[in-house]
Structures are given as C-alpha cells and as structure tokens.
Symmetry: D2
Subunit: 257 residues, 4 copies
C-alpha cells in the first residue's frame, strides 16, 4: 500500500502477462486498465474482481477499465484526462502491448504489417510515454510505501526475444520491438535523473495461456507464468533509486537460448 | 568491372557518404542514384560526371538519377520498373537514407518526428528491400567479376551510433535506426541462404562535410571521410560468400567511444 | 525462512555489496561467509552479529566465517567439506569477488595484474562454481519457503560496468569481468534445465562506502547502496522457475550511461 | 607493397585461417610467422614458399618462421628482439591463436582447461600486444603504400562465435575468447588515438580444412575459406584512419545464426 493510495496503469490488458500484473499491482494500488474495447476489458475486469487473489485483500482495490487506443494520442489523452480527474497520484505505468506476429517470408509481408509492428511497438510506447510521463513526474517525491520509503514512479515496457534478435521472417515484429527497446533506453537515460524509473522486461519465452496449452504440455513450468513474471515487474518498481535496473530478461528454466 | 555490366542503386543521394559510394561504385558499375527531388539529384550528378575520379575512368559509367520517394512503395516501384527496362542485372543496392535529427527533451518531441524517424529508418529500409530484393535475387549466379569470380548481389544499409545506443533526447532517431538494424539482421538471415548478402555499416562518427567543417577542425582525419568509408562498403560487396559479414562499425581513429 | 533451514554462501565478504547481501540473506538463511583472511572476516562478522537488522530478527541466524582462497580449488574444497559436515542444504551462493583495479596505460600494466584480473574474475568464478554447484544440485526440489513454494537453488555473480565495456587502460579488470560474464552465461544455459538458477548482476555504479564518501557527496542516492542492491539479488533468488532472469544491470538514478 | 618494405607478423600459424593470411599478406609484406614448434612451422613455410600465389609474385617475399610460445613474454620478447634486428618497420600483426575446444559438462571440465582457454585467449593476446605494440607504434607515420598513402599499423585479433555467446559446456573456450574481445576493445580505444588500428574478426563458422572435410560436404562454400576471410583482415588493415572498424563478424552464406 502506498500513501496516498496511488494508481497503477496497465496498457494492453489481456489474459496473459497483463492479467498477472493486475493481480499483483492490486495488492498495493488501485488499477486503471486499458484495452482497445470493452469487449476485452469487461470480462477480464469481472474476472479480476472475483479473483480470490484480489477479493480477499484487506483493502479491496478499485479497478477501472477505460477503452483506449494506446497508439492514438487523442484517445490516450482523453484517458489521461479521466485519470487526472480522479485526483490521485500515478506511480506505476506499464506498456504491455503487442501486435500478434506470424513468421512469413519477407517478400510476402504486407507493409501494413510493418507499420502495425511499429505502431504497437516503439510508436505506441512513445505515445503512452507522452501521456503518462507527466503524471509520473508529478508524483516524484510525493508518495510513500507503508514503511515510509519513497515510491519511485516507474514506467515499464514489455519486450520479447524479438527485442534483441531479429529472426528470418520476423522483421515486422522485430522492427517494432527493437524500436521499443530503443525508446525505453533513451527514456531511462532522460527520466532517471528526473526521478522516474524506466525499465524493460524482455520475455524470452512462450507465455502459459489457455491458447498455448498444447505447447510443452509435459514440461512443468516450461512456459512463463504471468503470476511469476509479475513479481519481476513488481521488483523493478520496488528498487531503491540508488540501484535501478534498465533491462531484465526472463525465460523458463528449461528454455534453450 | 562486372560481366555483364551491372547496375548499382544508391538510395539517399547527398553530399556525404552516398557521394563517396557513387564515386567508388562507378569504378565497376553503372549507377542509379535516388533522391527525393531533382533539385538534389541534378547538381550532384553533374558534379559526379565531372569528378576526376570518374571522368578519367577507362570505362566511363552511365549515371542515372531518378527522383524517388524511397518511403513510398508506389514511387519505388515506378523506379524499379524503369530500372528493369534497362535490361541489366542489379547486383548492388544501398539504402543510405536518414532523417535529420535534433536532440530534444522527449516531452517536446512531436509524434510526427517519431513517425518520420521510422519512415526513413526501418520502414523505408523495408520498402527499399521489397523493391530491390527481386532484382538482386534475379542476379544471383549470373554476373561475374573480371577475374571470373561470381558477383554476390548485395544489399547494404547505413546505420549510426543511434543504431545500437539510444541517448537521451534521441528517441525519434534511435527508434528508426534500431528498427533498421533489426530489419537488416532479419534480412541477412533470410536472404543469405538465397545468395543475397545483406549487411550494415554503423557510422559512429561525424561525417566530413562542408557543413561540419568547423567541428574538430584541427584534428587531421578526425571526421569520417566519405571516400574512405566507401571502401568498406565496397569490401563488404566483394566478400566471398564463404565469409560474409553482417555488421561493421566505423569511426575515426581519434573517436572516443 | 526455508524448510529445512538452508545455508547461503557469500564469497568475497567485504564492507560493500557483500555486507548488504549478508544482511538481507540473514532474514531467511544461516550464513557461510568467505574471505581470504580472518582479519577481514572477524570484524565484519562481529558487525553483522550486532547489526540491528540481524540481531532483532525473530530467528537469529547462525553466521559462520571461513577463511578461504576462492581462487584455489583446494582451499574451496576444504571449505565445502566443512559446509557439508553441517548437514544442511545450500540453496544460495554468491560470488562477489573482485580484484581492485586501476586505470593505467596498457604498456605499463604488469602481466601479473592481467593474471590476477582473470583469477578473481572468470577463473575464481569457475572454481567457486565447481565447489558449490554440487551442493546446489543436491538441494533441487528439497527445500521450500514458508509459503510451501519450492526454493530454487541459485548461483549469483557480481559483474561490473567492465563486464560489458572495456575502456582504455582497463584491460586487466575487463578481461576478468568479461570472462566471468561468459562463465555465468554458459552455466545459466547448462544448469537452468537441471534446476539451478544462475544469474549475474552488473554493477554500473560507484558503491556507497566509507572510502567513496567524498565522491558525489552532494547527490542523494547518487552511489549504489549495498542494502538496496541486495534486494535485487534477493529478487533473483525468489523468481519462480517459469520466469528466470540471467542478467540485470543496476545503477543509481542519476548515473550517465 | 609498402615503402620501405615492412614486416607482417602472424602468431599462431596453422593450416587454416593463418595460412590464408600469410598468402594474402605476402603480396605486400615480408612475413614473420610464429608457432610453438618448428614441426608446425617448417612444413607450412615450405608449402607457402612453393605456393603459386606466392612464388610467382613480382616481388617474392621473405618468409621467416620463428618458434615462439606466444603466451610467454620471455619467448615473445626474444622473437621481437630478432625482428628488431632485421631493422624493418612492422605495420601488421595478427594474433590468431586458439586453444582447441571440446564441449563437455562443466563439472567435468578440468581447471587446467580453463587456464589454457585464458592463456591462448585474453592472456596470450595481451602478451602479444605487449610485444608488438612498441613495434607498431614505432611505425606510425613512417610507411606508405605504393600509392603514397600512409600505412596504418594494425593489430588484429581472431575471435569466434564463442567471443560473444557462451554455450553450455563451452565455458573454458568462451571465457578465453570473451576476455580476448575485451582486450581488443580496450586496446582499440587506447591505441587508436595513437595511430595504431586494433580490430577483431569473429569467425562464426566452421573453417574449411582438411580435417573438416566431411562436415557440410555437399554445401558449396558452406564452410569459411581461409583465402576469403583473409581478404577481410586485409580490408581492415587497408582502412583509412578516418574510418576504422573495431569488429566484424564473418560466416558462410548458408549459416544459421
């Protein structure tokens, strides 16, 4: 818990990592969850509200879903305006947006896919940063943990294997992810000295989801569990400002890399 | 000289590196030079034609300028159609396009600048690749050097310090350049086994130009000379296919890095 | 706390990071602390025992210092034999050993310094791994946290800026640190699938110590605090095995990098 | 050809890359070739002398083999003393020494193998640098090519895949190679501004040798040919000092990476 009770924003709500982030952040924060449509938001927010990890918390969090196109500055600005109206500090914001990807021969990739890879990659990450950094900067030095220690406002990005390796047939996705990693590094260097911690988590793994059920089905913990990786996002947020991390990689114990 | 006499395409003609490339490539190739407007092309092509390095060549090259927006697939396709009509193999293509950049606080960067950074970075690089790869693939195994050795069709990209390091205030430029590096790596892995060599030259330097004259004015060879770096592009093109490089860095001897 | 109560080994006890590690690990572990001589060990262990962070713990830990030359397999083997006699699982081991370094022109560096850089870098790290990995492997699946979750045996290495960047005049130190990073990556890939988590923390900072007092004296949290970075080592140890990190960087918020 | 006729030193003569280097360098240099024993040197030097690539040169080079343990400063100093007596400038020196490597489980690797990996890796590279850098520094600005351009004294290192990736079971080899890469980077930064070009070629390939004959036997140019990679070493040596490369990767066109 923070004092005053602050808000965490997660962009890109879905059934995977972001769901795990919401579960974890709810232990200390009220949540603003963003996805493109209420069709995505509503069932997941219902699920979160009835999730035992959340509903039995001593202090049950407020969870607000706001349909937002995070690649549109207009849409995000409207969302941020609503958040500002809540009159509460924002000290955690996560950009967890991904285009899907398929491996295909370069000459068959549509230029639209390349534009979309960038849109949900570096560009969306930049639009999100433009919208939330003013909120995070406003909260520097103003919020504390129960222990009395300062809460360091934090902006986190989710990367992938394709953030540092560009495999054949993966250029559309990799271009987006490399550009996001560049953004995150540039922001970390600029906003660290202003008190905002910017960091990246590169997911070098298959995420354990309903739809990935059949993959590695017989390897215990062979896929990345959202609840486990959420701890790492949280750890980054909790780091003291004398010792901030910019980048971590995560992968299951059995992963070849 | 190649047999049959082949074409080299340089996208992004200007007074710097690309001018050096044209000088060097002219020793063996006829040249197709692309820039957005004839205002850029015409004076540079005149200068090239009267350049002693070119006009005294035993075999004076044909130099053709085609105004092209290399970030537009329509514009590039029209250019490629013109090149195809020339009925000559294309075995070398260089994407040497850059947005300008200025260092500015992230919150003051216009989203348009971020889009433009990508447009002339990874996106333009991909549009160019889509246009020229079919030409390069068509030439695999069909052209030889005077020595009888095979000419390996080659696609080269120009990177920058900002291709691997994202400094504060440089996100728009760095996002474009990182995405271009990702593209280049993905293409190298896909098209190498098809006989097309894809490589990147990262310029970690100030280029020696009229407009950079006052910088490091008293350090001999302290700025990168287009004619010298052109040798490195050429060396990459000449590598035998048992020993291809994907990436090289270049910087002046005195550079701190 | 773990069940059964397990042991953590820290090699390279000193007044800096390792002291912070001991403080943190003591909250759940009994400690085996290694340094070359009792002159180093005794005062630090006394200090730890009277440290309020430790002496008021509900369960006061046993802290054992064993003089050990961690670059000697004989010395380390004797130490490991003593640890085995204690009949307790070992689930955490940290190699936090560094040669000192001074920047000097390469031609003035003594070859002895280069040997020593490697000795306390990759070589010492390998000797330590050879000694402790059998202990860690023996503990896989046998120890749980209070919550009932499995404790994943963990081998951690401390790196530095010089683990990924080799500055002029720093070759002796950098060669040792790069080789240690290589070791850590190779071990992570081999022992992950055997249940032992191997990870590296690269300290890109000046550590906040008595002897660095005068540096950055006026910047709050401008130097890395051992107690803060210790949280990151701990976080790595606590990661669930579906989501393990190999490498993290840490630096103060104000650091230029 | 250089004026005055200068010497090139190649350490680690064998039937592979270094043989290709000797062939290439002989077109412009007299050669000093080093290997541990005359058993290695004599047959290779005989072969070089009768090699058509060499014996039909307009200016047949002098080729001198000197048995040298390049990991011993005493042995190398004696060799350098002999070279100095020849009264000729040295403007090219290559360290192309490798321990053999075998992949084996870490706990079965002998510490001797780890020491040897470093000995022929970073340590040997440093001993070699200490011996030859004074010779190279002495030649700065004193030797020209036939064209009149300055010859830039150059120190080249041969790296491997294991210079940037540490696979399981490969720690002994990788530690040596990573430390060599660190050395090379530190030296490049220190000696570049003194006029000596230091660079590294990372061989990410199987070399085409008698003993690798059966591997990839049916893929044309599927293994790296010494004569082809030698061109890349030469290209690095020929770079003008306004545009020096520190590092290149090389691999066959069909290589998966």
């Amino acid at each position: 818990m923070t004092t005053p009770r602050a808000l965490a924003i997660v962009a890109g709500l879905g059934p995977g990592i972001s769901y795990g982030l919401a579960q974890k952040f709810a232990t200390a924060y009220d949540l603003i969850l963003l996805a493109r449509s209420t069709n995505t938001l509503d069932p997941l927010i219902s699920k979160l509200k009835s999730d035992p990890a959340i509903k039995y918390l001593k202090s049950v969090p407020t969870i607000v879903g706001i349909p937002t196109d995070v690649t549109s500055i207009e849409s995000l600005s409207a969302t941020v305006a609503r958040v500002r109206e809540m009159g509460r500090p924002v000290t955690l914001a996560v950009y967890n947006v991904s285009s899907g990807f398929k491996r295909s021969p370069f000459l068959e990739i549509d230029l639209k896919d390349i534009e979309n890879g960038f849109k949900s990659g570096g560009f969306g990450g930049a639009v999100f940063a433009k919208a939330v950094l003013p909120l995070l900067l406003d909260s520097v030095g103003k919020v504390t943990w129960e222990s009395g220690e300062r809460v360091n406002p934090t902006l986190l990005y989710t990367g992938a294997t394709a953030s540092f390796k560009a495999n054949p047939g993966m250029s559309a996705f990799a271009m987006g992810k490399w550009s996001l990693r560049a953004l995150s590094q540039s922001l970390a260097r600029e906003f660290g000295p202003q008190g905002v911690h910017v960091a990246t988590v590169n997911i070098d793994a298959i995420v354990d989801l309903e739809r990935s059920k059949s993959i590695l089905a017989d390897v215990e913990d062979g896929k990345l569990k959202p609840a486990e990786v959420a701890e790492t996002y949280w750890d980054l947020h909790r780091q003291g400002r004398s010792s901030w991390t910019w980048e971590v990689d995560v992968r299951p114990w059995v992963e070849k890399w």
